[in-house]
């Protein structure tokens, strides 16, 4: 199926032939009339509410183009912004991307430093474009074991998420320093400590309560998981949440991922929707007041720990105070303390 989509050439597609822009989180490339027609037709079927993407293949792309690896990652960023635009055009309201796995810390020091520097650039860009993101209604969340990241990067992530937290039209979840097993184990560890400390009772621990304690507590499970570069595994990405979704593997490398790949993935999603297990039904968390409080405290505690970690890096306010500021105030705070 993936070979069919990669051999399908668009009839008219000016946006696919132009160079991807690296300079903005918002891609405003016009779609061809044929692309718009295909989207319109597809929208008459079921669309996934939440798409997860493993953006694999940047380094292989760089090797193929005989450029530096970091340029491959830059191109990958450009492709990301385009893909977000396509998802938005298709009314796919939630997108989760796998930007950096905990396993990737095994790469060379040089490459990790380059990736962290790229991440800093992109988060700074996101902060500078906070008004554009607000106008497009994009809420950015970053999920993962962020304590493993450099402190200055954590600060930028905190600022970026605070600036966009009130946007409600589209949700972009960036999995950074993340693996599914780490998410589940660390959440479980926090709950076990909670039980031992008497903060939560055993009979209050249920599956829906557990979901509320995960990094992804604000998101529904992904309906469709797309992985590029021809690898046929999910690499521990949202494994707990992806127990019953459809996975679509694309042979193209991530920077070569085209709108036709995405459209075909959604077409296959529609085609096979009734043919596997029932889609995940919304499971309403109806826990006790104590369990709701525990889950809420757990999430806030994670951020508090991160903010404390950044104190030595210049973060002067605690998370509670930062959260209460408006986006404009957060931006002023950032300009005063971080912008060099």
């Amino acid at each position: 199926m993936s070979s069919l989509s990669s051999s399908f050439s668009p009839l008219i597609s000016s946006s696919d032939t132009t160079q991807s822009s690296f300079s903005s989180w918002i891609s405003e490339k016009p779609l061809s009339w044929f692309q718009r027609l295909c989207i319109y037709i597809l929208k008459w079927g079921s669309l996934p509410k939440h798409v997860a993407i493993v953006m694999d293949g940047n380094r292989r792309y760089a090797k193929k183009q005989s450029v530096e690896k970091i340029q491959g990652h830059q191109k990958g960023f450009g492709k990301l912004t385009e893909t977000l635009q396509w998802c938005s055009d298709m009314d796919i309201m939630e997108v989760t991307i796998f930007a950096f796995s905990i396993e990737n810390f095994k790469r060379t020091r040089e490459e990790i430093d380059a990736l962290m520097e790229l991440a800093r650039q992109k988060f700074r860009l996101m902060i500078e474009e906070w008004k554009k993101l607000r106008d497009h209604g994009i809420c950015v969340r970053v999920i993962g074991n962020l304590a493993l990241l450099p402190k200055d990067l954590i600060s930028l992530i905190i600022i970026a998420t605070l600036l966009t937290k009130d946007n409600k039209r589209t949700f972009l979840n960036i999995a950074f320093s993340y693996t599914g097993k780490d998410e589940v184990l660390s959440t479980s560890s926090e709950i076990i400590n909670g039980i031992r400390d008497g903060k939560i009772r055993e009979n209050e621990i249920t599956e829906t309560f557990f979901d509320q304690c995960l990094y992804t507590y604000e998101s529904p499970p992904p309906d469709l998981l797309i992985r590029t570069s021809g690898e046929f595994r999910i690499s521990d990405f949202l494994t707990w949440q992806s127990w019953n979704n459809q996975i679509y593997f694309v042979k193209s490398l991530w920077p070569e991922f085209s709108m036709w790949n995405l459209l075909f993935a959604i077409f296959c999603y529609q085609h096979f929707l009734g043919k596997f297990m029932k889609t995940y039904e919304d499971r309403y968390f109806n826990g006790s007041a104590n369990s709701v409080k525990f889950a809420d405290t757990l999430q806030k505690e994670r951020w508090r720990i991160l903010v404390d970690r950044c104190c030595s890096n210049g973060m002067k306010l605690d998370y509670q105070t930062l959260e209460s500021l408006s986006a404009e105030e957060v931006y002023v705070y950032y300009k005063k303390h971080y912008d060099t």
Binding site: M1, Y40, I41, L42, W44, G45, S101, I102, E103, N104, F105, K106, R107, T179, G180, K181, V184, L185, S186, S188, S189, I191, I192, N193, I195, R196, E202, I205, T206, E207, F210, E231, F232, R233, I234, S235, D236, T239, W240, S242, W243, N244, N245, Q246, I247, Y248, F249, F267, C268, Q270, H271, F272, K275, F276, M277
Partner: protein, 266 residues
Amino acid sequence: MSVLAGICCGFLLNLFHVLFSFYLQLKLFKFVFLKYLYNINNLYCNKFKKFQLESELIEKCVKNYSKLPRHMTLILGEESVSYEDLIQIIVWTLPTGIPVLSFYDHKNELKADTLYEVFLKNYKELVPHIKWGVSFSKNNTIEKNLSKNGIIFYFTVDIKKYYLVFYYRQLLIDSIKELSRKKDLKLTDRASTEAALDDLMMQKLSNSGNPDFVVINGNVYTTYGLSPWHIGFTELLTIPSYKLLTVKDFTNILHVYAGYERKFGR
């Protein structure tokens, strides 16, 4: 006008889906035809002789493969259970050197004891070579170990259970509660808690461990609820139908696995 446009688009989309179904059926016919030829070829062949010939072919093919899975799982998907075809897959896996083969049926129609009885009826002489996993009530002792490249190993066949829709999720919840009750267990930091939980989950879920390779029956990549403890880094592959596999298709499946490259994050 917009209503008319909507109706036309809806009709077009349905037409594309029908054409796609037709395309998938055409692809399937190729396998149906090849399986038919395979069956005709083996119609009058003695079963054990066929096993010997096919074993030789399989051994010859896998000798050239750079790697083989340590644990292969076949997900039955939407198709009904065919015990004859499943035991054929067991028989083909035996000469490969793959230590563990398991089956996963989310519909819970696959019965371990029936599988064992059908295997016993057709390949009685091979039964002592196989370690039947915990799903099978007939826990036999191995009389004849297998040997590959001088290494003695057991070939285990098992079935992964799917009791309830959210079975493994509830299993994790139960494990969390169990660990929190163990007051004698010193969980001094996050790392020790996580390690203890991971061990407990692996213990509860399966004695066979994580599959390296999951073969999914059907055209769609979905794991039908197979536990995430099992499939985080597992290679996946779909096949049109396990009932249409020939021995050549089986070796091709292993060939595909041999071609997968793992970077382990690097």
